[in-house]
Every structure is written in C-alpha cells, then in structure tokens.
Symmetry: C2
C-alpha cells in the first residue's frame, strides 16, 4: 500500500509485491515517484538501510532519506454515501470538469459541484461563460451529497479509478474509493453554482443537427470572420446557414441540413465557445434549444444517453 | 501547380486535378491554405467568378479576392549542383537542424551550413554549446556548394521532399528540387561555422556504450543532482559510473558496462545537453572520444552508417 497526503488531499493505492519483512516508512514523494517512473526494470527491491530507503535494481541504487512518520497524519476518510459506475463518471467528467475554469481566483469556477440524491448524481461546472451539467445514475444511495470539488483532482482520480466507485462525503471532505485505492480531499465552499439560475423558459426555436458537421463548418467559415470571433447561426426552414466575410480574405458561406422546429431565432456565438460546446456531442446529433435575446442556448444530445448532458452557452451580440 | 513566394523564399508544388480551362490567378495564401486544410471533401472545385476565386464544395462556397499578378515576381531558381538521397538528407537533418538554435540574433546559429564537394554533402550546425556534423554521399556532383540555410526551412522542406533531391545553389540563393516540387531561399552569411575550429587532438579516453542505457541512467541519477544539472561520467576499467546526491532527496548511483580504451578521463556534462547528444545515437552503441580539461567530447556511432554523424559536446566543470 502506498499512501500520501498533504493538508487538503490524501491518496492511497494498493500494489502487489513480495515482502520479506513488514514495515512502514515515510520518504519524500517526488524523487521516489520519478525514480520509479524512469526505471526500465519491472521489479525493484526496496530495502531499509539505516536512515535510508534504498531502491535497488541491477547496477543501480537510489537511496531516499527516511522521514519522521509522525509528520504524516492522514485525516479519516468520510463515510460512503453511494456508489457510481467509474466509466460513466469518467465520461461525465470529461465535459463537466473541462468546462470549469483552469485558473480563477474564485474556487466556484474551478470546481465541480457534485450533488447526489437517491437516484442520480449531478455534476455541474461553469467558468461564467458557459455551464455544463451531467446527470448519471447512482447505486446504493444512503445519504445525499452536495459538495464542490476541485475539477483537476476529479479528472485525475477518474483516470486511475476503475469499476464501481464509492462516493464518500461529510460536511468538510469528499472522497472516491475503488478496489485498491482511494482519494480524499477537502471540499471547497459548496456553491450557488446551479443551472436553475439560468432562464430557459423562453425557447422558441429548436434545431437538431450533426454536431461534427456544424463544428467543421464553424471552423471553416470562422477563417473569414474578424479575429475569428463571432458567427451567426442563421436558422432556416430545414437548414442552418453560416456566412462571414472579411476584407482582404474574402467571403465564406455554408448551408447545413437541419431539423428545425418553432421559430427562426438566429443566435450569434463566439466561434471558439460554440466549438467547445459542440465537442461533447461529437459523433451524434445535437439539439439546440434557442431563446431570443441574450438568453442561453441549451445544447443536449438528440439521442438518449446514460450520461445526460446539458450544456448552456451564452450568445453574443451579432456583428 | 501551386506556387508562392515572399522576398526570401519561393515554393512550388505540383498537384493533380481536372482542368476545364487553363489559367493562373494570384490569391491570398493564408485563407486559401486554411480553408483547403479544413475541408472534409476530397475534391474541390476552383472557379474564377469575376474578381473572386471561388472554392466550392457541396453546400459551401469560399471566395478569395484575386490579387494583381504583377505583385508576385518569383526570382529564378539557382542552377543544380548535385543530387542527394532524400531519406538520407532527412535523417541527417533530424539531428543537425535540431542542433541549430531555434532563436538567436546571430543567423549563423540558426542555420545549417551545407557544403558539397564531388563526393560528400556535409551539414554543420551549432547553437554555440554543441555542434553536429553529418556527412552523406552525393550523386552527380557538378559544382561545389557552401551556403548557410535557415534550419527550420530545411527541416520543413525535407518533410515534403521525396526520392532523389536536386541541390541548387549560387552565391546568393539555395534550392532543393524534387519530382513535383521545389523550394528556393536566400542564403544567410556563409559561415565560419566549422568543426575544424574545435580542438580534438588530445583524446586520451574512449568509451563505447549503449546510447539508450546511458541516457536512461542520466535521467534517473539526474533526479538526485542539484537543479538536475551537472553529472560526471566516472570512467572505470570496463564500466561507467554515474553518482549524485542531494540533501532532502537522497543519493543515486548507477554502474553501466562499457568498453573503455586509453585513460580514465572522467568528464562532467550538463545532463540535459548530454541527453540531447545521445538521442541521435539511440538504438545503438555510441563512442565517446574524451579529452582532458575543458575540451569537447566527440560522439560518434560505434557502427558505420550511411549518414556519418559527429557530435561535439562541451564538458562542464564538475560540481
């Protein structure tokens, strides 16, 4: 078992080995991790030699100083509240954690709000300009959960976790556990981060279109827009048209087949943000629920999915 | 045929197409290139429509303004001086062009000196801290060549060129030509850039060792050196030893088998530069010719190769 922790974070992993003597030592994490990562041999020998932990392979010895084990005091893991399928959680986090800001002075924009009730897990993140919400089923729900967890940590944990994951939580800590590993972190201020705050009752136009075809057209026509910024989705009877022109560069227009319902409200978007909003729907059709004025456009998959994703994208004033 | 040029550089490529009317137009390069790159369809239609060149695929039209053809005056290509195998040139450039500085106020350190005589092509580059020299055979040599060419351009040209390449040159321009394409560039000030300026007559120690095994050991032991900087190659009777220690991190030592001839001169190197010097010899044994004091270490492949590479690496004062 390898375990490490700092003030906010604790991680433990099991790994198999042949032990000749039981024991526990504390060594500096970074040189141990780097040395092990760079060794070519499959097996290493770990030997406590005086005040050193020696990592030995043929022809080489790396010796790390033993630290005072009292220095490490791992806080207790919070109780399990429910279980979730690891693959579904990873799918949901790819979009939701990716929508959180990478760097923001306000933790609410770098975190993912995790809410669990007896049936569903809901993940919400926003960088103020767009918001992603994913809903997926939970198992064995015992208690509700509502915490804000750093997005980067969740992404990293989901990469290592496999199979069924335990969700753990109390008022001040959140954890994920799986066969052979666990990660526990302090939670951030739980949030007012909620899609309920985004008005979505004025939808008058619905467009269903291939996410990949629309993204490809946005990329191409965007070359002909000033600073590659704002493009208008011109909604027609059974198509969507993108057009742009730019002095010295020329003009571009593309017309794409689409299923259109309701009105012909034609929103404008930052090309970059529209592309990011379309990315999670790649490989299928996306349904855009469009509201007039400066109200959010709501993107959902046209097909039912086990991870139900809702993406809120703010329009821009047209150029 | 697609051709483009600016003040220093001219490029032309043939590409096959079905033409309904012959003609030649000049359009802005960047939007044309980007639009074509991002189109999904294999075929596009190019149509001159009034003052526009329209690029058409189903459902889309991109129109580029026609420019005054007088604006483009391509300088004549310099005469061919000899021929070289494209694959050998690409192999040589991988190391030599990579050794030139990416960015330096002095062009001599961002260029590759190309010297051809009746038998060989010699490529030389240096970023002041190390120098790489590659020698490869030429064919049909008619005239000698000695020019300094921007390293980045050579790398890019070698990526597109195939088969036998023509080498072109006169006092002020250098060119590469191949079936279906050519690139011509103004040459930089030809250089005093020469391995002859590096003293290499005091070699007293020769070491032959697996380049990959040495590189892997340098990476691992480097973790235990201050700022990952300087490592000493301790040359023994039939081995090389690397050792390092660092407070708080611990100690590392590795011993590698090696063929050693001559003395036991044990040079010290910047770990990063030693790794870069070993990289081109990956997959085989490298021979290090070591000189005492602050004289260059000369690296060559232990096996004969069609591209004969010599790499000069400056040692550091040991820590």
């Amino acid at each position: 078992m390898v375990a490490g922790s700092d003030r906010d974070l604790a991680v433990r992993f099991a790994c198999s080995g042949t032990t000749h003597a039981d024991g526990e030592v504390l060594v500096p994490a970074a040189p141990l991790a780097e040395t092990l990562r760079m060794l070519d041999s499959e097996l290493v020998r770990l030997v406590v030699e005086g005040s050193r932990l020696a990592v030995r392979v043929e022809g080489a010895r790396f010796a790390l100083p033993l630290l005072d084990r009292e220095l490490r005091r791992e806080p207790p893991s919070p109780p399990q509240v429910s279980e979730v399928d690891g693959a579904l959680l990873a799918t949901a986090l790819r979009t939701v954690a990716g929508t959180a800001a990478k760097d923001d002075p306000l933790p609410v924009f770098t975190g993912v709000r995790i809410q669990a009730d007896h049936e569903n897990l809901r993940l919400t993140a926003s960088d103020r300009y767009r918001m992603a919400v994913a809903r997926l089923p939970v198992r064995r729900a015992e208690r509700p959960l509502d915490v804000l967890v750093p997005a980067g940590l969740l992404t990293e944990a989901a990469r290592h976790a496999q199979g069924v994951l335990g969700l753990h939580g109390d008022g001040s800590r959140f954890g994920l556990s799986w066969a052979g590993g666990a990660v526990t972190t302090a939670v951030l201020d739980a949030g007012f981060l909620s899609a309920d705050a985004i008005p979505s009752d004025a939808v008058d136009t619905e467009v269903e279109i291939s996410a990949d075809a629309l993204a490809a057209a946005v990329r191409r026509v965007g070359v002909y827009s000033e600073d590659r910024r704002i493009l208008t989705l011109e909604v027609g009877d059974a198509h969507v048209r993108l057009a742009s022109s730019l002095q010295d560069t020329g003009e571009a227009e593309e017309t794409l087949k689409a299923n259109v319902c309701g009105g012909r409200t034609s929103p404008s978007f930052q090309a970059k943000y529209l592309l990011e909003a379309l990315a999670p729907f790649s490989g299928g059709d996306v349904r855009l629920a469009i509201q007039p004025g400066m109200r959010a456009c709501v993107l959902r998959s046209a097909e039912a999915k086990e991870v139900e994703l809702t993406y809120y994208l703010m329009p821009m004033l047209p150029r």
